[in-house]
């Protein structure tokens, strides 16, 4: 293998060797001595009074160790929510209890009301089927607007209604926004649905609880994006175990996309049950279970209005959204339609007045929480769709309309409470026009026509707030956690480094990218740096990976820790060379004294740190290990411009993506190949949302597409070869790497591009259609063409 390069090098992902050769160590690969297996008894109705659970038949079945019901959890806490929203009247949101196993009521299909622990998995499943629940079925609420009507069945009897909160942002601006609308030369209104998605990471969730009765220590092995967060939430709020008695390990994790951020009941159950029966307890989700227990994403119903003056300048924006919370509040659910959505409504445009209203609603469905992009795709989709619709109504070019309204001066304080540090939206749009060969579109349109196909072009921009985020800010916004990141850099005697990070890799390539950062700072080969993550026992308290934060926040912590290492190493080098600290320079792994030919190698210094025979012991301690915590000053603001070209088969309504181009500004780039991959994956997910995916509940709250037979995930042949470019770089001004985050961009920026393209294709064919809701399945497009 060639030696790895530092920052900017497209190093191949070292972790892929183990992932691609079956050597990964996923939670389900782990089996503990004496382990028992769990099967949950789950509600098959969406809403019902749980009058009793008869476990006697199950208890008598072969291999059954113990059967648990809600009563066993009466003394412990419920699953907590990590974010509290204050509504437009200054009231805090309604926050229902969320017991580990249902008590009194079941509230969605899949809600667990009992669990069997048995010697084998099949025995546990057999016995779970023998549990008899006495459930009086109640009418279910599925539709959000119906759920808010007077007299609607209540998901939680102890709450005043199914309204979690009614959020207005910025409430003080509302009157001014309304006034701007009254004065507008043109108002474009669009009703749309941001379809409900199932994350479906390749690896289903798994939890293994383990209890060491000699020490009184609990360990949870789990498929998590943030083991420290799980330790804190589960330890402090559910089971009452202090951190030093609870270890959470998230080993290799096969994708999360947000759905593995949250603390789930099954994790608490396995940890609790392991102690109760004094044996390891393992649960592995089936794919069918995943569909009805993993948190879903999106599910917004929105009306958006854009006001323009006579010169087509955006003068105001107003949105009204119903956001589905599902039956319980998942860990970060309340923050997604509010702070992760409302603050992004300015997009790339200098609209001076914005008002966002969000009603979060309880329904008898699986809880909804963050999913790749989390709030920002919902914001981008509606904004970019309404702009394209406005361009159509006004008969102006949609790119020109966007350019005219771009923010061009930075820093820029939006009317929705955030300040963009850097960006260059003109540059990314210029780049897009070039890489997507927009000037060649007419020729491609003709070629499609000759084949009997309708061709359309969709263009849009996006902005996102990543690198989540300053703790003091999110604290004011209701977060019940800090959002810093941590790193410990341990230098070994012979010069190799181990970096222990609070970030967590579940497919992102941290083990490759992070060493590039640390090695570049020292001037050594990245192969000398190893990344350790995912285990609360050997990493510093960190907040995990989501919100495109790992490099911007976790990487910055690593930079800070490495800076401390370098400062100390320079002192040692100065001592070895009998020079002043301030004269020491570090370059290419060599310390030298400025202006002389004296130098010592990195390895000489690290050895001296651990074999301190000749060492300034009176000034500094031996050893070379430093920890740093980094709490950013602001979010980062990646942005970009996307273009999609589709063909529609006019006879069947089938849409195919013919071309997709993405011009992104992620600030500085550490590993361009990994960035390409992140963008590819994100666009794939966005195309999935736009064309294929969407969880469908019937009015009784049954999920109609709870398997891959009916829930359409994107496959390789559903997506084109992408053209991606990230050469437009306006580095972030407030983190030491100047990086912005790239993990969610593709999923945020691509759905409007696809929908814009389909609408464009239909209109070029003479239709006066203005919108079709996602997913744009053949039948939906065909139906739209008929009307």
């Amino acid at each position: 293998m060639p030696a790895d390069g530092g920052i900017g090098a497209p190093n191949k992902r070292r972790e892929d060797i183990r992932f691609l050769t079956g050597k990964g160590n996923y939670t389900d690969d782990m089996n503990k001595r004496g382990q028992a297996y769990v099967a949950f008894a789950r509600s098959q109705v969406a809403h019902g009074t749980l009058k009793g659970v008869d476990t006697s038949a199950a208890e008598a079945m072969p291999g059954v160790v113990r059967v648990f019901t809600g009563a066993d959890f009466a003394e412990v806490g419920g699953i907590p929510c990590g974010w509290q929203i204050t509504d437009k009247h200054g009231e805090v949101m309604q926050e229902p209890a969320h017991p580990v196993l249902a008590q009194g009521k079941v509230r969605h299909v899949g809600d667990p009301y009992a669990a069997v622990v048995a010697e084998t998995l099949d025995q546990a499943r057999d016995a779970a089927e023998a549990i008899e629940a006495d459930i009086d079925e109640l009418p279910a609420v599925v539709d959000m607007k119906a759920a808010l009507l007077e007299g609607a069945p209540k998901v939680h009897d102890d709450l005043t209604s199914n309204l979690c909160y009614d959020w207005g942002f910025v409430e003080e601006n509302k009157a001014a926004v309304d006034e701007a609308f009254a004065k507008a030369a043109h108002v474009t209104t669009l009703d749309l649905v941001n379809n409900r998605l199932v994350a479906n990471p390749m690896e289903p969730r798994v939890a293994i609880g383990d209890y060491d009765s000699s020490a009184g220590d609990s360990t949870l092995y789990t498929t998590s994006q943030n083991p420290h967060v799980i330790r804190l939430l589960m330890g402090a709020f559910v089971l009452g175990i202090p951190e030093h008695k609870l270890r959470v390990v998230a080993p290799d994790v096969g994708g999360g996309f947000g759905s593995k951020i949250f603390h789930y009941a099954e994790e608490a159950f396995c940890t609790f049950a392991a102690k109760a029966i004094n044996r390891p307890v393992k649960w592995t989700s089936t794919r069918s279970e995943a569909f009805i227990t993993d948190c879903h994403g999106r599910d917004h119903v929105t009306t958006i209005q854009l006001a323009l003056d006579a010169e087509n300048n955006f003068t105001a924006l107003r949105t009204d959204t119903h956001a589905n919370m599902g039956a319980y509040l998942s860990t970060f659910a309340p923050s997604v339609p509010t702070w992760l959505h409302g603050t992004l409504m300015a997009g790339n445009y200098k609209t001076p007045l914005i008002y966002v209203n969000v009603k979060a609603v309880f329904t008898n469905t699986v809880p909804v929480d963050a999913y790749r992009g989390a709030g920002r795709p919902e914001a981008t989709y509606q904004l970019e769709r309404v702009i394209s619709k406005a361009a159509m109504e006004l008969g102006v070019d949609q790119i020109a309309l966007r350019r005219q309204n771009f923010i061009t001066e930075f820093p820029y304080a939006t009317p929705v409470a955030v300040e963009y540090d850097t960006g260059d939206y003109v540059a990314t749009m210029d780049k897009l026009e070039q890489i997507a060969d927009l000037s060649g579109f007419e020729a491609r349109l003709k070629a499609s026509k000759a084949k009997g196909k309708l061709r359309g072009l969709g263009v849009n921009c996006y902005i996102e707030a990543c690198g989540i985020a300053p703790s003091n800010l999110v604290g004011q916004l209701g977060a019940r956690a800090g959002l810093y990141e941590s790193a410990t850099v341990r230098v070994n005697a012979t010069g190799g480094l181990v970096v222990m990070t609070g970030s967590h890799s579940h497919g992102q390539g941290h083990e490759t990218a992070f060493p590039q950062v640390v090695a570049s700072m020292i001037g050594i080969d990245p192969s000398m740096v190893e990344i350790v993550h995912g285990d609360t026992a050997n990493t510093p308290m960190g907040m995990g990976t989501y919100g495109s934060r790992s490099l911007a926040v976790g990487g910055s912590a690593m930079v800070k820790a490495t800076e401390k290492i370098i400062a100390k190493a320079k002192k040692i080098a100065a001592h070895l060379m009998e020079a002043a600290d301030s004269d020491i320079e570090l370059k290419d792994g060599q310390f030298s004294v400025a202006g002389t030919d004296k130098s010592v190698a990195w390895g000489d210094v690290t050895l001296a740190a651990y074999v301190p025979h000749n060492y300034p012991l009176e000034e500094i301690e031996p050893g070379l290990e430093e920890t740093a915590f980094y709490d950013p000053a602001n979010f980062t603001y990646p942005s970009g411009a996307y273009a999609c070209e589709v063909e529609i088969d006019p006879e069947t309504g089938k849409v195919t993506i013919e071309a997709f181009a993405a011009a992104d500004d992620f600030g500085n780039i550490v590993n361009p190949m990994i960035v390409d991959g992140q963008v590819h994956g994100g666009i794939g997910q966005g195309i999935g949302q736009a064309l294929l995916e969407g969880a469908v509940y019937d009015e009784d709250g049954q999920l109609l597409n709870g398997s891959f037979m009916d829930y359409a995930m994107p496959r390789a042949d559903d997506v084109p070869f992408y053209t991606v470019d990230h050469s437009c770089q306006t580095p972030c001004t407030h983190n030491p790497l100047g990086v912005k985050g790239c993990g969610e961009a593709g999923a945020i920026g691509s759905p409007p591009a696809v929908v814009n393209a389909v609408v464009d294709a239909l209109r070029r064919n003479g239709s006066d259609i203005t919108h079709i809701d996602m997913p744009l399945t053949p039948s939906r497009v065909w139906s739209a063409m008929q009307s």
Binding site: K654, L691, L692, L704, F708, T777, S779, W782, S783
Partner: protein, 259 residues
């Protein structure tokens, strides 16, 4: 899965005897339908009697204008065979490589999923289903959703396909499963035209008589212009009955054009 026994006799007679002796026993072909059903605990057979070791059920032979395909022949082998190109293309469009290298033609026809491809091929070619007890014309074999003329311990051993002058199968994928949302198999042998439709009807695979008549008079896509089948079409999250009826017309025209 529930617990079950599995046996793989090497003689067909033994399979039949075992099935007759135990009414909860089920014959196992390629398992591409049956195993997922078991994994979801939707069936609890006492034992699976596998056909895997009965070699004479595998293979393709041609004789006198008839192609005979053993019931245990996997889709990949039919796809690779060129005797009836339309049938090979149909087999090559089923599922993915692992499904095609496991799933069998006998299993598919025994299962008669309303969205499966082979039923359209068998009906559209006027095949004969050969079983351990008798020969059944395709026209008499399919009896609705997942229903066939097979009885008790009757096992499909082979399928005989008359070689057509022209034939084509065109399938419109259901986006998630990629089974047929609508699939149409058209064949012409002399003046005999067959149009078999899968995926669309509430009554399972069917012959579209009006289309056959129109094509017998004029074997060209235009002959079907504006035509859609009558009868109850399936409506679900992937398409309304109207959409499916419309697609039947489109796929039929495309199949004729591809002949």
């Amino acid at each position: 899965m529930y617990e079950f026994d599995i046996k793989a006799p090497s003689k067909l007679g033994k399979v039949v005897r075992k099935l007759k002796k135990d009414e909860d026993a089920v014959v196992l072909g390629g398992g591409q339908t049956l195993i997922p059903t078991l994994k979801q605990r939707l069936a609890a057979p006492s034992q699976l009697i596998s056909l895997a070791k009965i070699d004479k059920l595998k293979g393709i032979s041609s004789d006198n204008g008839v192609v005979t395909i053993g019931a245990s022949t996997v889709h990949a082998d039919v796809a690779a065979d060129g005797a009836i190109p339309a049938l090979s293309a149909l087999a090559g469009g089923i599922g993915d490589p692992s499904v095609r290298n496991r799933g069998t033609i006998g299993g598919s026809l025994a299962n008669n999923d309303p969205s499966a491809c082979y039923p359209a091929g068998a009906l559209g070619l006027g095949a004969t289903i050969v079983t351990t007890d008798r020969k059944i014309a395709a026209d008499d074999y399919f009896r609705g959703l997942f229903e066939t003329a097979l009885e008790g311990a009757e096992i499909i051993t082979a399928i005989e396909f008359p070689v057509p002058d022209k034939a084509a199968y065109v399938k419109f994928d259901q986006p998630a499963s990629r089974f047929a949302l609508v699939g149409v198999f058209v064949s012409r042998t002399g003046s005999d035209v067959r149009v078999a439709v899968t995926g669309a009807s509430e009554s399972g695979v069917f012959r579209w008589a009006e289309a056959e008549a129109a094509l017998a008079a004029n074997f060209a896509p235009e002959a079907l212009e504006g035509m859609t089948p009558s009868g109850d079409m399936i409506g679900d999250i992937h398409g309304s009955p109207e959409y499916r009826a419309h697609l039947v017309g489109v796929m039929a025209r495309r199949a004729v054009a591809a002949c």
